[in-house]
Symmetry: C2
Subunit: 419 residues, 2 copies
């Protein structure tokens, strides 16, 4: 039978080998008292199995507070596998299995889920992203290069009409993609119905005039029935993209949107720091994004290189590459588009392109567009010039010699520190 494999970096007061047994037991057939019903045949069929185990070192104190006391906390990596007979291809039960109670075990003084390998059945059982990069370009009426995007700012406080006016000036500036802030969904001060109407009136006129259909990701996050109604609202106004806050609506909410949405699904990972910030507890993004892609997200946020957030660039890079890689060991690859944002300017465009080796990405900038000395239009053009230079293997300096907007951006925005 096919098996799912997960890798954990752990630390334990009882040693890595014993901790791996406890983890495998807790997350499959075991209990703290061996029961009569736990027969050998049942274990053979249903138990999790320790596939690999590597000791990395030892510490004299626990990384996390731990009920079990000890003088020696061994660190290492363990790989555990499960037969799919218990959970089939259910994402929810898979989640409860590979990222469930185990994080609370007293035998673990640290535990990060760092890898997840899924058999082909998962890629076949789930719809995956409906559109991905190619579908996103098609929704725009055709588009080359990365999407240059921005986020409505101030994040909250604008009325629907003010949001529409902002969209108009961004459209004028040549933007490809605009998104609501994750803090703005359907509150009394900026109701979604009015916001969609105001924004789409502007963007539809722009499309009629230019042939270019700018993608606006409306934050529809809410209850299931609300989100279904909001998807219809988007359809009624010719919108093309629904944004959902993944951690706030959850896997079942995301998948329900996928089932009912004719639109691009823009996945926002607000709250992701809870899963990623500590080196001692959490889930790596390359693991979590598999759930979100299988459930249907077309776009997934990965922070940006040299961002205002604390995530190191190596982690951002691994996340972005994971989003474009195959989701399982066979079956449809289900790639999604990585979305880069947070403190992004022309300086991050080249390294971002170099990282992926393709243009199937969304590059969001706020101040990096609006604070351009030549205005927002020059800001967008400078980013596009930087992207074309990266695609063509031309240095920023050489490109700037031909493009005054890019040259101005290089003067206006201080170089960033990668790392």
């Amino acid at each position: 039978m096919s098996r799912v494999t997960a890798t954990y970096e752990i630390e334990s007061p009882v040693g890595v080998a014993r901790a791996a047994e406890v983890l495998a037991g807790e997350q499959s057939t075991g209990t703290f008292v061996r029961l009569a019903a736990e027969t050998d045949a049942l274990r053979e069929r249903s138990a999790a199995r320790i596939e690999a185990l590597e000791i990395a070192g030892v510490s004299d104190r626990p990384a996390l507070p731990c009920r079990l006391k000890g003088e020696r906390f061994e660190r290492g990596t363990v790989t555990i596998s499960w037969p799919v007979g218990t959970f089939g291809t259910s994402l929810q039960t898979l989640m409860a299995t590979v990222a469930g109670n185990l994080f609370e075990l007293a035998e673990l003084s640290a535990c990060r889920l760092t890898g997840l390998t899924l058999p082909e059945e998962f890629a076949r059982a789930h719809p995956g992203p409906h559109f991905g990069a190619a579908g996103t370009r098609a929704k725009m009426g055709g588009h080359e290069g990365p999407l240059i995007g921005t986020i409505v700012k101030p994040s909250v406080g604008l009325s629907p009409e003010e949001t529409g006016a902002l969209a108009a000036s961004l459209a004028e500036a040549g933007i490809d993609f605009i998104k609501d802030d994750e803090l703005q969904s359907d509150g009394p001060d900026c109701p979604l119905t009015e916001r969609v109407a105001a924004v789409m009136a502007v963007l539809n006129r722009h499309a009629d005039r230019t042939g270019k259909r700018i993608v606006y990701a409306f934050n529809i996050s809410g209850e299931v029935d609300e989100m279904r109604r909001r998807l219809d609202l988007l359809s009624a106004h010719g919108a093309t993209c629904a944004m959902v806050c993944l951690n706030a609506v959850g896997l079942s909410g995301l998948r329900d949107v996928r089932n009912h949405s004719p639109h691009l699904i823009h996945g926002h990972r607000a709250g992701w720091g809870l899963f990623s910030r500590s080196p001692h507890i959490g889930v790596a993004f390359p693991v979590m994004q598999k759930f979100w892609r299988l459930a249907g997200a077309d776009h997934l946020h990965v922070n940006g290189l040299a961002s205002k957030f604390t995530e190191p660039d190596a982690s951002v890079a691994a996340s972005a590459l994971a989003v474009q890689a195959s989701v399982a060991e066979g079956g449809p690859a289900h790639p999604a588009m990585p979305v880069f944002s947070s403190g992004q300017t022309i300086w991050q465009v080249g390294p971002t392109r170099a990282l992926l080796g393709n243009d199937d990405l969304i590059f969001c900038a706020g101040g990096g567009i609006l604070s351009h000395p030549g205005g927002a239009g020059a800001g967008v053009r400078a980013l596009r010039q930087a992207a074309e230079a990266a695609r063509d293997g031309v240095t920023l300096e050489d490109a700037a010699a031909r493009h005054p907007e890019l040259a101005a951006a290089m003067k206006a925005f201080p170089p960033v520190a990668f790392g």
Copy 2:
């Protein structure tokens, strides 16, 4: 306008006061470049406000890896408030606001959300638990005292027929409550349809014979449409309780179950360690359970005192009390029933009862029932004897003098260490 208030324990390389400003800005009107559109009127209407700030100390190294370098990492508590104009009473947008991007800020080297105060509107806008403790007792045909419960073990690997046979022996033993393991939902090896049929045939017969309707929490966690169908399946078989893995289905999934369920909703928090295990990043359970209760959970897991997990007893106690306390500052209180489990025996019954001061709880034991030398029936009776002793202010020793099952349990199960 009403405001929501959240309290964070933070550490920062830029000082607590400056970090509080960044946090309030990031989570409301701010951006890293002050924009023209961010007018004073807009800020007055929509900005988050720092309500209180307390410095607790300073460290010479960051608690969590942090992009911003520093030599002085100040720790403290900050209280921030938001006007409800932006999010109204949306749980999803509230979540993205109080537990969103802020966890990733480079200005924070630690951040835990420890408190949340909601205005009355939230308690009025959301349905809350449909049944709570009183409704749970009513579903059973009337029941006094805490519910003595257990979890199907082995967690996975039993067939539907074997699960039915186990339910029969537990019913015979006098159990009040049985739950599926969170790892077992509707996998190919134990399909829910067959499991519900096998278990309810047993429990319905038991109810016909004894008048007592044992609560079995079937794990229905899955996609939205699947969960709706599973609720109907439960209805068709006379089941009374649906279990959902809260972190796996998410807030929108939970609320959808509440909207369509005539059954008790048993909220399982598998994966909770991600939110709670680190002292430096996370969300306190008394905060998170407000979301889950507003979305409709009747029962909420809180671990147990002196459990096999690593959570300290003081934290378990705070969680359990929170579940029974008012959810907001006015409006319906929406109390839920705390569920205690994990390594529980007769030794934890009294302290658990003393903690709450009432019997509106579910006390789950596995080995604590099945490993009783007199068998499962004696195991259940011993727990009930301990609960009655606690209610009546009688010591375990005095009660054991009259109750041989309790006396045997006190000999069989080693006393546990609280703390």
